[in-house]
Structure formats: structure tokens, C-alpha cells
């Protein structure tokens, strides 16, 4: 296998001695991904701050006595206009629809009297209605804030007035310190979030890496006429194929690592550091080996798939259009895992290539990957990749494919 080794060395030298290639394959995509997610994160947090800083315009109809003192007491910040029963609210509804007014709160007529006259079950209970526009961020936030701070406090104060002792109503407390009661496997909780995202990302990144590199290394060489010079060497065609596939595999893995790290760093900024706890995920040695094996077979499969397309294509442009449907399939296979429930899946699912890689990785991250499922996944992926490799070798032996003869 001296030929294979020699070819791997040459392929790696070709990429790493070419500054343009290193920049366009590894550095630029990594930086772009990071910048993209950081900008997204920045925009989202700006939006949140903006909503927080906004002072809502609120109209209150039939405001009962004592409401204004509650508003002062809870320090509610808003431009409040009080309306009488006779005032029309039509123009306010219009304003809410257009996003000019954030909230309209309507108390029933005789609100306080109705409450004070309550004596036994069946007596009328008055209502407060809020009108808002859920598609407007400001309006949405105004409704939530007003309900939670003003209306809830007002309700509590009226209850206290009616019963004298509000603790009579409380009967018992539920979790005064909710944080103290959380019993969770940190690893699994973090894993759950990552399990949704990572298989998708890794799958896409791996395929993307294989795609760019494979088309250049095989179709490109064919187009440039440099592949034939290798075909003239006294080595087996399979040695050339393995040399190409292994070097592609190495480069693909490297680019996938760079892309994934950039995404994680970018998302970390996006989620305000929620992913910082990622480091707390702990893998057992067996899990690490499983993850490694899984990634290796996935890389092997994608590289051989791209190679098969690339070897049949006559030009890189042609290769690009052949490989796109495959890319979409890989994307589909991995997107499915993002939205599927975490319920147990039958072992047969682990024999569906691409999809199985994603769900196995998902299971692995939450610590639920059984040996049987792992075996079926790796086995079926490796088998398929091997079959494709045989086809690639056959294509390398075909003069029609190689020389268009």
C-alpha cells in the first residue's frame, strides 16, 4: 500500500501548501460561521433589550378605585390613559392593530361593587379583559407585564381585604425556593439540548466538507488531466482510490471539526452562554470510542458518496449539480432528528443510512445508545460505504469514465 501512502501525502501537501485553499476551506468558513451566529446573537439580545426599555402605551377603561395606588406601589412604568364607560374604544383597537397602542384593559362596570357584594357561591364575579396584539412584540410584552405585576397584585390586595388573612387562602406553599428542588443529571440535561442540534450540524458539516474537497480532488483532477498521470503508475487502481478517499476523509474531518467548533462558539454567544455548560457533559470511555467510530464511518460514507459522484462527472460544474440532491437528502435525514420525540425507536431505524448516524449520535449524547443499536448503525453505514467504494474503484477501472472513451 505504498502507493496509497504516497498519494495521501501528496493530497495533504497540495491542500496545506496552498494558502488560498487553506483560507477558503478552513479559515474563511469557520470565521464566517462564527461571525454569522454572533451577529444573530447580538441582534436577538438587542431586540430583547429594546422591548425591555420600551414604555408601553396603556388605556384602562372603568379603572376601579385603588388601582392607581397599586400601579404606583408596584412601580409600573407606562403611559396610562384612563377612560370612562361612555368612551369609545374603537380607535384604541385600531391603534393596537397598527402597533401604535400596546394595551387596552377593560374592567367590568361596577367592578368594586360586584366584588364587595359577593356573598355566596353563584354570586356574580367581575371580569378584567385585556386587549393586545400578539404579533407586536411591545404589545405582547405589555400584556404580560401588566397582568403579572398590576393585575395580580391588585387581585391579592382585594383578596386580603375580603378575607383579612390571605394565608387562609394559601393553605400550603409549593416550592418557596424552586431552584433548590431541581434534581437533574446535568450531563443529560445539557445533552438533550445538544442532542437536538449537534447531529444535524455534524452531518451537514461533514457532508459539506467532503463535497467541496471531493469535487476538486477527483473531478478537478480529471478535468485538469492530472489524474491520468497517476493511472499510468504501476500501482493498483484501488490504491489510488484509497489514497484519495483517506486523504479526503482526513481533510473532511478536519474541516468538520473547525466548522462545528465555530458553530458552537457562535451559538454560545447567541444563547448568552447557555452552552457554556457543554464542558460539563461527561462521556465514558466507551461512549468516546462509540462517538469516534460513528464519526469515522460517517466520514467514510460521505467521502465515498461524493467520490462516486465526482468520478462520474466530467466537469466540476456537472459534479456540483449531481451532488446537490445528495446534500439535500443528508440534510433531510439529519433534520428529522431535530424534531422527532425522544421516544424509543425500533432497531430497524438504525439500519437507515444517514438517518441512523444522526439518531445514534442523538442517543449517544443523552446516554441512551445501546450496543445493539450502535452495532447496527456502524455496520450498515460501513457496509454501504464499502459497496460505494467498490463502485468507485470500478469507475476508476473504466476507460469510459476515466477517458471518456
Amino acid at each position: 500500500m505504498g502507493g496509497t501512502k504516497n498519494i495521501i501525502k501528496k493530497e495533504l501537501t497540495r491542500v496545506f501548501t496552498d494558502k488560498k485553499m487553506v483560507i477558503s476551506l478552513f479559515i474563511l468558513p469557520g470565521v464566517l460561521i462564527m461571525v454569522m451566529y454572533s451577529i444573530m446573537g447580538g441582534l436577538i439580545s438587542n431586540l430583547e433589550k429594546d422591548i425591555e426599555a420600551h414604555i408601553p402605551t396603556v388605556y384602562i377603561q372603568n379603572a376601579p378605585e385603588g388601582l392607581d395606588s397599586i400601579i404606583d406601589a408596584v412601580d409600573y412604568n407606562g403611559y396610562i390613559t384612563y377612560l370612562n364607560t361612555s368612551d369609545s374604544t374603537n380607535h384604541i383597537n385600531d391603534g393596537i392593530l397598527k402597533g401604535e397602542i400596546d394595551l387596552l384593559v377593560v374592567f367590568d362596570e361596577g367592578f368594586i361593587e360586584t366584588i364587595q357584594n359577593y356573598e355566596e357561591i353563584g354570586d356574580p364575579i367581575p371580569e378584567v379583559r385585556t386587549f393586545y396584539n400578539p404579533s407586536e412584540d411591545y404589545s405582547n410584552a405589555a400584556k404580560g407585564n401588566f397582568t403579572a405585576s398590576v393585575l395580580y397584585s391588585y387581585q391579592q390586595s382585594l383578596l386580603a381585604a375580603r378575607l383579612g388573612n390571605i394565608e387562609q387562602l394559601q393553605v400550603f406553599h409549593i416550592d418557596r425556593d424552586p431552584e433548590a428542588g431541581v434534581i437533574v443529571d446535568e450531563g443529560k440535561a445539557n445533552g438533550k439540548f445538544l442532542a437536538m442540534l449537534l447531529p444535524f450540524l455534524i452531518n451537514i458539516m461533514l457532508f459539506q466538507g467532503a463535497m467541496g474537497l471531493g469535487m476538486d480532488s477527483i473531478t478537478g483532477e480529471k478535468e485538469r488531466g492530472t489524474l491520468s498521470s497517476m493511472l499510468l503508475s504501476p500501482i493498483k487502481r484501488s490504491e489510488i482510490v484509497f489514497g484519495k478517499l483517506i486523504s479526503l476523509g482526513i481533510l473532511t474531518s478536519l474541516s468538520a471539526v473547525i466548522y462545528t467548533v465555530s458553530v458552537v462558539i457562535g451559538i454560545q454567544r447567541l444563547g448568552g452562554g447557555d452552552l457554556g455548560a457543554m464542558a460539563s457533559i461527561k462521556f465514558t470511555p466507551i461512549q468516546i470510542i462509540q462517538l469516534f467510530a460513528l464519526l469515522i464511518v460517517l466520514v467514510y460514507l460521505y467521502v465515498s458518496l461524493v467520490a462516486l459522484v465526482a468520478v462520474y462527472a466530467r466537469t466540476q460544474k456537472e459534479a456540483g449539480s449531481y451532488v446537490t440532491p445528495l446534500y439535500i437528502l443528508v440534510m433531510l435525514g439529519s433534520i428529522l432528528t431535530m424534531f422527532s420525540s425522544s421516544g424509543e425507536k425500533g432497531i430497524e431505524y438504525y439500519a437507515i443510512p444517514v438517518y441512523n448516524g444522526a439518531i445514534a449520535m442523538q442517543d449517544l449524547l443523552v446516554g441512551e445508545l445501546t450496543m445493539a443499536k450502535f452495532g447496527v448503525t456502524v455496520g450498515s453505514l460501513a457496509l454501504l460505504a464499502f459497496l460505494i467504494t467498490t463502485l468507485v474503484t470500478r469507475a476508476f477501472n473504466s476507460e469510459r469514465v476515466m477517458f471518456n472513451a
Binding site: G2, G3, N6, I7, K10, T13, R14, T17, D18, E221, R224, G225, T226, S228, S229, M230, L231, L232, S233, P234, I235, K236, E399, R400, M402, F403, A405
Partner: protein
């Protein structure tokens, strides 16, 4: 020694190729029952117009194409059954086969030397000899994409000879070379012949065939129209030079085709 025995090569044409060749047949016979022998210590020239089947024949010898009919042996090895051994023996040069533009001639020389199983010392010795002969030393570390077409051709020739092959197959070796480099190459081919190696070249340049080749095979429409030394060919066609002889044969064989 190269022995070609009744070599026939038929290409299947795609619809697009059929349009390009303006034919309704989906098969094209590029070479038709071609038989010839190139011996050690001689330069054999395949002479013919474009599309006559010269390149196809040479590619069959170089194991890149498999014969549809007939067989070829190089130093006794069959080009289909023992293709790896044949590739070990031959040095093949053609226009369509190029060196990776991102590497230097020096790197490429080493790369192909290693693929041929040479050790570093042997590679260096060969490089010293060939790079000096073809004046490659000055640009041996430059990227091939930065070289002129003449420099590229020189580098390709040197690389194709890295393993000191016994059989040399050059498809239009002086194509694209200036007059000095072309002479350099033909001189080297003579040197190889004098060392007792088998050299087979293809050309459509009459003067090159006249001056360089010990024996000439004229190939028209895939058929070997005539074979022999320059003298024999001129005698048989009763002409004064190779160009006249070629047109005599072309008249006869092109008619037959129609």
C-alpha cells in the same frame, strides 16, 4: 519490444458524440486490425493525420485503454493481464496527461518516482541527470502553473522518464515546443535508442518522422496503410519525399473508406 497483434479498438458513441462526429452509427472504429512490432534500439514512428487512431493505439499500449480485439505485449507482458508490469516498464507522454499545476517539477518528479517504487537516492540521481539534460534546474522549485508551455513539456518529459523505462511511448513529443527544445527532445530520444531502448512516437509532422524515425508506420482511418524504413516507403510509393508518399497512400485509403 512492443508487439501489436491485430489491435482493434471500437468506441461506443453517446448521442452527443454521434452529433459531433456527424454519424448515425453508435460505434466508431478508431483502430482496425493494426499489427506492428517496435524493436529495442529503434525509434518507431506512427505517422497519420488527426483522428487516424495514433493516440488510441498508443494509449492501448500504455494500458490506459483495453483493446476491443487483438492483443498487445510489451517486453512479453500482456497489456490487459499484466497491466501493472507493463506500466512499470514504460514511460508514456501525451498532451492530455498533465502534471499537477500546484506542485513544482521537483516535487512531481519525487512523487512519481516513489509511485514507481524508487528510493530517495535513486530519485535524486535520476533527477540530477534528467533536470540537467533538459535545463529544468532553474525552475525546478517553481509551481508548474507558473511555467511556460515549453517548460511544462520539459518537466513532463523528465517526469515520464523518472524510472528509466525500457520502453518509451511519446504521443507527439515536440508538440508546442520551440525549435531548440524540440531538438533537445528528439536528440534525447535518439540517445535512448542508442542505449538500446524501444521508442515509439506518434507524429503528424513529416520532417520529424523523416529525420527521427528508423521505421515509420503510416496510419490512415485506423488502418496501417504502409510500414517500413523511409527508403522502403519511398520506393514502394515511388515518391521523392514522405509527404508525397503520404498523400499517395491517403488518396487510396480514404477512397476505400468512402
Amino acid at each position: 519490444m512492443i508487439q501489436i497483434n491485430e489491435l482493434t479498438k471500437v468506441y461506443k458513441l453517446t448521442k452527443k458524440q454521434m452529433m459531433e462526429h456527424k454519424t448515425k452509427k453508435n460505434m466508431m472504429k478508431a483502430v482496425d486490425k493494426l499489427s506492428l512490432t517496435a524493436k529495442p534500439g529503434e525509434i518507431y514512428g506512427l505517422l497519420g493525420p488527426n483522428g487516424a487512431g495514433k493516440t488510441t493505439a498508443l494509449r492501448c499500449i500504455a494500458t490506459l485503454l483495453k483493446p476491443t480485439g487483438g492483443d498487445i505485449t510489451v517486453k512479453g507482458y500482456d497489456t490487459v493481464k499484466d497491466s501493472e508490469k507493463v506500466r512499470k516498464t514504460i514511460g508514456f507522454l501525451t498532451n492530455e496527461i498533465k502534471l499537477d499545476p500546484q506542485f513544482s517539477p521537483k516535487y512531481m518528479f519525487g512523487f512519481f518516482g516513489r509511485l514507481h517504487g524508487l528510493n530517495e537516492k535513486a530519485i535524486e540521481e535520476r533527477r540530477e541527470k534528467l533536470f540537467n539534460y533538459f535545463d529544468i534546474k532553474d525552475f525546478e522549485d517553481k509551481k508548474i502553473e507558473e511555467l511556460s508551455s515549453g517548460m511544462k513539456q520539459k518537466a513532463s518529459i523528465a517526469v515520464s522518464l523518472v524510472h528509466n523505462p525500457d520502453v518509451i511511448i511519446f504521443d507527439e513529443p515536440t508538440n508546442g515546443l520551440d525549435i531548440i527544445t524540440a531538438r533537445n527532445v528528439t536528440d534525447y530520444l535518439k540517445l535512448l535508442r542508442d542505449e538500446g531502448r524501444t521508442v515509439i512516437i506518434s507524429t503528424h509532422i513529416m520532417t520529424e518522422a523523416e529525420k527521427l524515425c528508423d521505421r515509420i508506420g503510416i496510419i490512415i482511418n485506423g488502418v496501417l496503410a504502409m510500414e517500413g524504413t523511409l527508403k522502403e516507403i519511398l520506393e514502394q510509393t515511388q515518391t521523392k519525399d514522405l509527404e508525397d508518399a503520404f498523400f499517395e497512400l491517403f488518396k487510396i485509403h480514404n477512397k476505400e473508406e468512402e
